[in-house]
């Protein structure tokens, strides 16, 4: 409940503040968002599995974001930033899908 509330608050704050993303962060923000989404789905799945752990959730959330951003940063430095960010998005997308499938199985038994 607090999580949903937090999500809503975050959206509202983002709409109200309307910040501009610093130029250096612009390539990493979308990847970080996808990574965070992955962590969120993973957390939801863990919750439904009954093995939700706040420390794990926090760690996975932050490490996902940091690692994803770092991979993209590395790719930028190596000159393959576009391809690597595509790869990261693909991998995270697959994970999100599998987590979503697991959640679906939990909730709808199908």
């Amino acid at each position: 409940m607090i999580a949903i509330l937090g999500l809503a608050i975050g959206v509202v704050v983002g709409l109200l503040v309307q910040p501009t993303v610093p130029v250096e962060l612009q390539p990493y923000l979308p990847i970080a968002v996808v990574a965070a989404l992955d962590a969120l789905f993973g957390g939801l799945r863990a919750l439904l599995d009954g093995i939700f752990n706040d420390r794990v959730f926090l760690t996975s959330f932050l490490s996902n974001v940091v690692v994803a951003a770092f991979i993209v940063f590395l790719g930028d430095q190596l000159g393959v930033g576009t391809q690597l960010s595509t790869a990261v998005v693909v991998v995270l997308g697959i994970r999100i899908f599998s987590n979503a499938a697991s959640i679906r199985r939990h909730l709808f038994r199908a």
């Binding site: 975050g10 919750l47 930028d76």
Partner: protein, 275 residues
């Protein structure tokens, strides 16, 4: 469904109510909290409780929501500013190449248009020139009738003593004075005209002329008159031959006699060098 989810703990503890209260008895030993799964886990998570996990999840979700909205606005705002350098370079390359191509095309088309325009004008100019040329050649060669200021020269030959050479001299004098079209009697005088015969029976191009010989000349009247009457000039020759002549300026000399020119049999126009 909640029952299914909790089957394991329930089975392990027969008789236990499918309520939350039943489960902790066994699970409490393994984990500090009841191990809930499925809908019940969701339901319990939806109960607002000020636990560390809930607050943490709330904060992280707030961050996520914030980031999502910011990124969405960013992605909607600008399509170029979040592109990478190499992408921008590629884009710039493509754009400039396309611009080059288009400007080249524009130059080509402009040149073509200019060419067509000047082609049509030069064609028109050439046509006009050809028309003028044709008119000029027609007048000079005697193919076309001509009108203009000039003089009328009447040579009286009471004794029939004017020689053909005198007539030729007259013609040369007229040409020197700038005569453009000449008619003697009802014969057009052209470049190939010839005075032959004998005094009193002068032939122009094979046709005998009758006195008085009337010359119709188009040209500058003053110049021609002066040239003819000059001492030792054409009229002096006529007088020497025993004839008389008088020159009158005429405002509108009409030369109507025409001459059919035979098609040149051997000569063909030399190719005009194109510049």
């Amino acid at each position: 469904m909640a029952d299914d989810e909790r089957r394991d703990p329930v089975v392990a503890q027969p008789g236990g109510t499918p309520d939350d209260a039943g489960a902790p008895a066994r699970d409490e030993a393994a984990t500090p909290r009841a191990r809930l799964t499925g809908w019940s886990a969701l339901a319990s998570a939806l109960h607002p409780r000020a636990t560390r996990a809930q607050l943490l999840a709330g904060v992280l979700c707030a961050v996520l929501g914030f980031a999502v909205v910011v990124q969405m606005r960013q992605a909607g705002d600008s399509s170029l500013s979040d592109l990478r350098t190499d992408e921008l370079v590629r884009l710039l390359d493509e754009t400039s190449a396309r611009a080059d191509q288009l400007s080249r095309e524009a130059t080509d088309l402009q040149a073509e248009r200019d060419q067509l325009e000047s082609g049509s004008t030069s064609r028109q100019a050439a046509l006009d020139a050809a028309r003028r040329n044709a008119a000029m050649q027609g007048i000079l060669s005697g193919r076309l009738p001509a009108v203009g200021p000039g003089v009328r020269v009447s040579l009286q030959d009471p004794n029939g003593s004017i020689r053909p050479v005198t007539m030729l001299n007259m013609l040369e004098e007229l040409r020197n004075a700038g005569a453009e079209a000449i008619q003697v009697g009802d014969r057009r005088v052209t470049a190939s005209s010839a005075f032959t015969g004998a005094p009193g029976a002068i032939q122009l191009d094979g046709e005998t002329l009758k006195a008085p010989y009337v010359w119709l000349v188009i040209g500058d009247p003053d110049t021609i008159q002066t040239a003819l009457e000059i001492p030792g000039g054409a009229l002096a020759y006529v007088r020497n031959d025993g004839g008389t002549g008088d020159v009158t300026k005429v405002q509108d000399v009409e030369i109507t006699a025409l001459r059919d020119l035979p098609e040149p049999k051997y000569a063909t126009p030399a190719p005009v060098p194109t510049s």
